[in-house]
Amino acid sequence: MYDQSQLMRGTLEGCILKIISLSETYGYEIVSTLQHFGFQDVKEGTIYPLLVRLEKKQMIKSRFCPSPLGPSRKYYSITNEGKVLLKEFIESWERVSDAVGQVLEIRKGDVLYEDKTDGVNSGK
């Protein structure tokens, strides 16, 4: 079975940053949003190390506020450095996603690319 963890590792951080950039939010809300958009296996334990990492790198900042459920809750918000990183992530993701999409659409027999020395290469 395909191990998604390596693929998730880099992309999840960008997604978390995006969610935090929308408005100040907390761990459970981030997880619920991610699950809603298809990251079914994500739990608070999955995102917590990433939040620690982003906070250490000063991409996000946090503060404790009382929650309606009772105990105080840690709310995260994005910093200016985080906004720059998010912009870079989106640009990188668009490039990678576009490249992967094109590679995955190749069919057997399609022209792969034009080789200047040997002529045309095909996917035979």
């Binding site: 761990g27 190390p49 990433l50 929650s67 459920l69 009772g70």
Partner: protein, 221 residues
């Protein structure tokens, strides 16, 4: 910093008493795992506070901390550790200070046994004086066992480093009960005083240099 840390520890201790037993157990395991690595107290307590908050919210929703964490607690800890482990300079510094403490204990034990503490006479290594060295060896083995086997039991309890503890107990019993007193005091090896003094001076100098570098880096960063 100390006051902030003390207040945080106190707050965490109070909050922990309100948690479910199963959540408390998981939290204790996680904190124990962090304690096996070079993690600052403030980082460790900050994470403890976050996890307590997570457990409290989970409880309000009728879930447990285990549900929030997933099955692989070790992977969670490793993920967090990647970001909070102290830098190598601080780690080496701590190792050096530990070394200094051990050498000092050795000196004191030597003085207690032979009543002749002096840089001139050196250290006479006998059976009893091997204890501090044996203790260091045991601590290293202990850490390795705990790091390797933690979280592996299905009932969630830690593996007790039985082997290490047994080694120490057996060694003490053999030397103190079965070996005659005069043999216990016999000198097995000898480290000249100037060598011991040289090691102490070099260790202290390197430790202070690293401390200075570490503080300098922090003030710049």
């Amino acid at each position: 910093m100390k006051t902030k840390l003390t207040a945080l520890i106190q707050e965490n201790d109070n909050l922990m008493t309100q948690l479910k037993e199963s959540d408390t157990e998981i939290l204790k395991q996680i904190m124990k795992y962090f304690s096996l690595y070079s993690v600052s107290s403030i980082d460790s307590q900050t994470i403890r506070k976050d996890l307590i908050g997570m457990a409290q919210e989970a409880e309000q929703r009728g879930e447990s901390l285990q549900d929030m964490m997933g099955e692989d607690l070790k992977a969670f800890c490793e993920g967090v550790l990647e970001n909070i482990r102290k830098d190598r300079t601080e780690y080496r510094l701590r190792m050096l200070f530990d070394g200094l403490v051990c050498v000092s204990i050795w000196y004191l034990a030597d003085w207690g046994l032979y009543n002749s503490f002096s840089f001139n006479h050196g250290i006479k290594g006998g059976l009893v004086l091997i204890y501090p060295l044996f203790l260091i060896f045991s601590m290293i083995i202990n850490k390795y066992i705990e790091r390797s086997f933690m979280f592996r039991r299905s009932d969630g309890k830690n593996h007790t480093p039985v082997v290490t503890i047994l080694f120490i107990v057996i060694y003490m019993l053999i030397t103190l009960v079965f070996v005659p007193k005069d043999l216990r005091q016999a000198v097995l090896f000898y480290v000249p005083g100037w060598v011991a003094a040289f090691i102490l001076v070099i260790l202290t100098a390197i430790a202070y240099l690293l401390l200075w570098l570490s503080r300098n880096r922090k003030s710049q960063g």
